[in-house]
Amino acid sequence: MTDNVHTGNVHTGSIPDERPPANTVGPVAWLRNNLFNTWYNALLTILIAWLLFKAIPPLLDWLIFSANSFGTPPQVCRQEGGACWTFVSEKLRFVMFGTFPYDEQWRPLITIVIIIALVLASCDRRFWKPWLGLLWIAGLTAVGVLMWGGVLGLTYVENTLWGGLPLTLMLSVVGLSVAFPASVLLALGRRSQLPAIRVISVTYIELIRGVPLISLLFMASVMFPLFLPTGVNFDKLLRAQIAFIMFAAAYMAEAIRGGLQAIPKGQYEAADALGLNYWQAMGKIILPQALAISIPPLVNTFISFFKDTSLVIIIGLYDLLGTAKAALSDPAWRGFYREAYLFIGVIYWVFCYSMSKYSQKLERDLHRGHRR
């Protein structure tokens, strides 16, 4: 008797298939298994349900039902209570573009579009070709021209006037895209056979990781000038950008090192035995696997750095958070903190959540088929 032949899920055995007992399937069973399986879980379930019942209606009321729609003047808002979404519509351009000259604000708008388009294009693995690098150079050049101007009939705009979302995007996108290759080199350096390179990488990583980002930003604005000859003025934005790159590179290097360590020795040996040189072995065999493993910690770093760009406010740059705070200092709009922080919170969240979602998709794609 060979009864263990099966097609799909149907066993053609001597014992007929039966349905599972009714009390183990269906919504009631689900509730019992997941929410009320022990007396303390039942208690927790009831407690949380009560808290939600208490918290959600007033929140919804403020957000939607009693909210004042766009156009309600602030004085009316103040009397009525409820969210005052006029703040958002009124201050939208200031929060988004900061002090960039009002009539020229189409320029930062296009900047945002270009940067997002570049990032989206880079998300598609079919575009992972050498020309993508050229596209980035072209795109970032266009961004530079748009923001600074001074050529092609565009008026010159000093970068102290830049602010809002373009500043946040530029700091993070430029920062992370420079820091990423640097971090790969640092991670490889830390595992190098050459002692000098290893010592330099380790020292760099440990030094930078050992200080808070804020202090690095301060140092970038007060210490760099010490090293420069007097009279040479080093751009504040550029200093902040460099501080970010240095910091992000050290963190990402450690994330990548974790991935490198997970690659079995046999992979290095097989690559060596085929006659690949160091860079070929790293570029074709080791890094593609190590980076795929490092995606979760890397995305973690990406997300936290995207948000940490808001720290530039301490050296007097107005990123998205900075412009929102500045908008609140307008006497007519003082006090609408909730609306302001909620609004930029949503913007940050949309970007970070997209990064997270994309990374999950990328992880799935990269692991498809070759899981051992």
Partner: protein
Amino acid sequence: MTMAQTAGAARTFPQGEPIIQCQGVHKWYGEFHVLKNIDLSVAKGERIVICGPSGSGKSTMIRCLNRLEEHQKGSIIVDGIELTGNLKNIELVRREVGMVFQHFNLFPHLTVLENCTLAPIWVRKKPKAEAEEMAMRYLKRVRIAEQALKYPGQLSGGQQQRVAIARSLCMSPKVMLFDEPTSALDPEMVKEVLDVMIGLAEDGMTMLCVTHEMGFAKSVADRVIFMDRGEIVEQNTPNEFFNSPQSERTKLFLSQILNH
């Protein structure tokens, strides 16, 4: 029958033009002396089986031949190039020496076909189409062409090992090194891999194979080398080696592996 009288180690191999020459090779891991005074000369087209107890230094020895391990004393010349610290020379030697590992070591992020074309394209600078055509030829030869677009993780152990052999062959090596190619395989898959290796031997490939498959040694080897505690204790034709082993250590080893 004059050979039977001489001690195996004293017999002089090989007769033809040598492709590998080791002279007085020593290697240490820290204080531990793994290879002791290895003298080995391999002729073109020769098929050598290396056996010996676990830890005797078999893997270490063949891994010195493509410098996956570094020796500290003596000289190793492969295909006319001496293996020293010179990276360029090491890469040149590795192009000509294929290696098959116990655990296959296929690249899991690349398809079977990409595994096979990677080195020809990047090391031999072959055009992609040509490399793919050659890869398909070798994959056919190891009877796995229909799996070319799968990933290694989707294949059985025996299939993976055959791909690993094809991957090495795609570099058109002059010598193939095998380090226990069948010992990580389930018994029913050993034969399919050995068949491929026998086919290679029949085509005249120079092979050095660390294995415990004594049937393979008897049927294809020109010479069997017995290693123990870092030394080459005895080497002889399979016939002599199995029927009239010279040293006590060889006899003990043979009695252990043939009697289970």
